[in-house]
């Protein structure tokens, strides 16, 4: 089976080392997917997907609608169980882990259609993410023992500091559902960061943003990587963002990676232009 899979994805030379940035070379990849595939009723939604991400790498996944990008996120976070293949996080297989456990292991994500806790405040949203780092026992909290106060104070402070990254401290007590659209997207990223990830998956973070906001987002993505020293994998349709911020770009079509390389390589790859960019120009 693997051999046939390999043939089908002949466009990608698997033997070539993944394009891990120089600074990350020599470490184990933080996230590795090998021959990842899933079928829905016989349809191969994702087929032989391979990736190896450096610890502080920013990479992008592009591809037409329905190419299977979000499905890959769902596979990486164990929302779907893959039909084939393995996902290694820091060398540890995530098979059989629940979505929450995968998150605790270090993969955090945002959603294409924003999924915030709308009836909670902005700070509470972030605090849910910090739940991974909080340790008080239920009875400590219920009886309001000193441990509770200490922890709440500490994480209240940490939540506000996290909000500062996107200048959102002032929104701390606002209901998340009442935030303007752009701020909702930012909050989702912050909530994901609060869970203490090693890899951050962003599903169309620039969707619905104007050029100015996209530019700001681009800076923010780099800022997050620099400050938190984590890897970021993003799905995006906005080419300016992908080309501007990603060090490696993979192009997905019909569930398969058809090309992989630096933004420059991708932009000049005739297959990509034909399969993806070309199509978009016609549209």
């Amino acid at each position: 089976m693997p051999s046939t899979n390999r043939k089908r994805s002949a466009l990608v030379q698997l033997e070539t080392p993944n394009l891990i940035p120089e600074r990350d070379l020599g470490h184990t990849p933080v996230l590795e997917a090998q021959h990842l595939g899933i079928e829905f009723g016989g349809l191969k939604a994702v087929d032989d997907f391979n990736i190896a991400m450096g610890r502080t790498e920013i990479s992008g996944l592009i591809g037409p609608n329905g190419a299977g990008k979000t499905t890959i996120f769902n596979l990486l976070t164990n929302v779907y169980r893959p039909t084939r293949g393995t996902v290694l996080l820091d060398g540890v297989d995530t098979a059989g882990k629940s979505v929450a456990e995968v998150n605790k292991m270090g993969i955090a994500r945002t959603f294409q259609n924003i999924r915030l806790f709308n009836d909670m405040t902005v700070e509470q949203n972030v605090l849910v993410g910090f739940g991974n780092a909080m340790t008080t026992h239920l009875l400590t909290d219920m009886l309001r023992l000193p441990g509770h106060w200490k922890q709440e104070a500490e994480f209240h402070e940490r939540a506000l500091e996290l909000l500062d990254i996107f200048d959102m401290r002032g929104f701390a007590d606002t209901w998340a559902g009442n935030l303007p659209y752009g701020a909702q997207r930012r909050l989702e990223i912050l909530r994901a960061l609060a869970t203490g990830p090693k890899v951050l998956l962003l599903d169309e973070p620039a969707a619905g943003m104007n050029p100015a906001e996209t530019e700001e987002l681009m800076e923010n993505i780099q800022k997050i990587r620099d400050e938190f020293q984590i890897a970021i994998l993003l799905i995006e349709h906005d080419m300016s963002l992908v080309m501007g911020v990603c060090e490696v770009v993979g192009v997905l079509d019909y569930g398969r990676i058809i090309a992989k390389g630096t933004p420059e390589e991708i932009q000049n790859d005739p297959k990509v232009i034909e399969a993806y960019l070309g199509k978009q120009e016609v549209n």
């Binding site: 605790k104 806790f117 509470q124 906001e213």
Partner: protein, 381 residues
């Protein structure tokens, strides 16, 4: 329009700076907040006790007050599963009955062992106080165990299926209580005739204290990481899971805590009524409690407390119209769902200290207009 073309950032930083101004806003330190609430509770308690002792409140009226307290516990505990977790369990009466039977059987079996009589409970000897606390805990634990047994399979299911499986479980509990004596071969629950000879240990004082303790514990749980996880599941289960919330654990937790307190309420109920009959704890009892929660506002503890109080006192006050009571219940339930689905109070929760803080900061509702406008601006951006 101008703000839209400009970078979104200035607007946000403007908000941030205005907020940093409100960051210096005066707040009450935690101990003061607790002191305020404690004083409030004490006043309530002392006034109540004085009125009962002074004969202002008759024996019958104080029994009604005890029932009010019991229904408050039932409503706030169901609110955990319904309002906070966002599920619809229809078997709360089942937990209540398990707790009631558990507590009553424990106490009636322990009394001869410790050489106590029903009178001792009325006079309130220290042994009885401890025994009663033990009994209520036994009732709560019995109900919580049922909660785990029910919760683990039930919580794998969503919405309607969960509703129906909890209904099924509570019906099974009822049938078991009815027929268990024939199986075990000795008198345990007393079957259809009911369990009698339960000492009248429930009084205004211990109901009131229990209500306060239960409300406090639920409040503190909800205002902690555990409570936030539960609320997160209600708001968006998929996002909660992706944020590291162990949804199975927290759903079960909410369910079990809800069952535990229902069991405690059942224990008080047994002492208040003096007889436990399985027929009382049918589907209709579960619905009655659900109505209280829904009417008060799902997710609002104060709402549950008010509507439980109101819906317990009202029928007693209108005994002459008791035939219409259920119909009125039904119509009110339908109308509330159509016209105010979030319940009378929504998810609003009353906090005296918050009001005091507002007064301290001169932050009155009629001064709110400016802030709203600022929000509109930022929403445009």
């Amino acid at each position: 329009m101008d703000t839209q073309n400009a970078d979104a950032r200035p607007v946000i930083s403007a908000r941030a700076s205005s907020a940093s101004a409100s960051g210096t806003r005066k707040t009450l330190p935690m101990p003061v907040r607790y002191a305020i609430n404690a004083v409030l509770v004490l006043i309530f308690l002392v006034v109540g006790e004085l009125m009962i002792d002074g004969g202002v409140i008759t024996r019958y009226q104080s029994t009604v007050l005890e029932q009010v307290g019991i229904y408050i516990i039932l409503a706030v505990s169901l609110n955990i599963a319904t309002g906070y977790l966002g599920q619809l369990p229809l078997g709360h009466a089942g937990f209540m009955s398990v707790g009631g039977y558990g507590c009553a059987i424990f106490l009636t079996r322990m009394m001869p062992v410790l050489g106590l009589t029903a009178r001792d409970f009325v006079t309130g000897s220290p042994v009885c106080v401890f025994l009663l606390i033990g009994g209520l805990l036994v009732g709560g634990v019995c109900a919580a165990i049922c909660g785990i047994i029910i919760g683990i399979p039930a919580l794998r299911l969503k919405g309607d299926y969960l509703a129906i499986i909890t209904l099924a479980f509570s019906e099974i509990i009822r049938v078991v209580m009815l027929n268990i004596d024939a199986v075990v071969g000795f008198k345990l629950t007393g079957g259809a005739a009911g369990l009698t000879g339960i000492p009248g240990y429930t009084n205004f004082l211990n109901v009131f204290i229990t209500v306060v303790v239960v409300c406090f514990l639920i409040h503190t749980m909800m205002k902690s990481r555990h409570g936030r996880a539960i609320l997160a599941i209600r708001d968006n289960e998929i996002a909660a899971e992706a944020s590291g919330v162990n949804t199975t654990y927290y759903k079960t937790l909410a369910f079990v805590v809800s069952a535990f307190f229902a069991g405690v309420a059942g224990g008080l109920y047994a002492g208040c009524i003096g007889v436990m009959q399985p027929a009382v704890f049918g589907f209709m009892k579960s619905i009655e409690i659900l109505v209280m929660v829904v009417l008060g506002g799902m997710g609002s503890m104060l709402g549950s407390v008010i509507s439980a109080t109101f819906l317990t006192i009202l029928p007693e006050a209108l005994r002459a119209f008791s035939e219409y009571r259920m119909i009125v219940y039904a119509v009110v339930l339908i109308l509330v769902m159509i016209f105010r689905p979030q319940g009378l109070l929504g998810s609003y929760d009353f906090s005296l200290s918050r009001i005091i803080e507002r007064v301290m900061n001169r932050d009155f509702p009629w001064k709110k207009k400016q802030t709203v406008r600022a929000e509109e601006v930022s929403a445009d951006a």
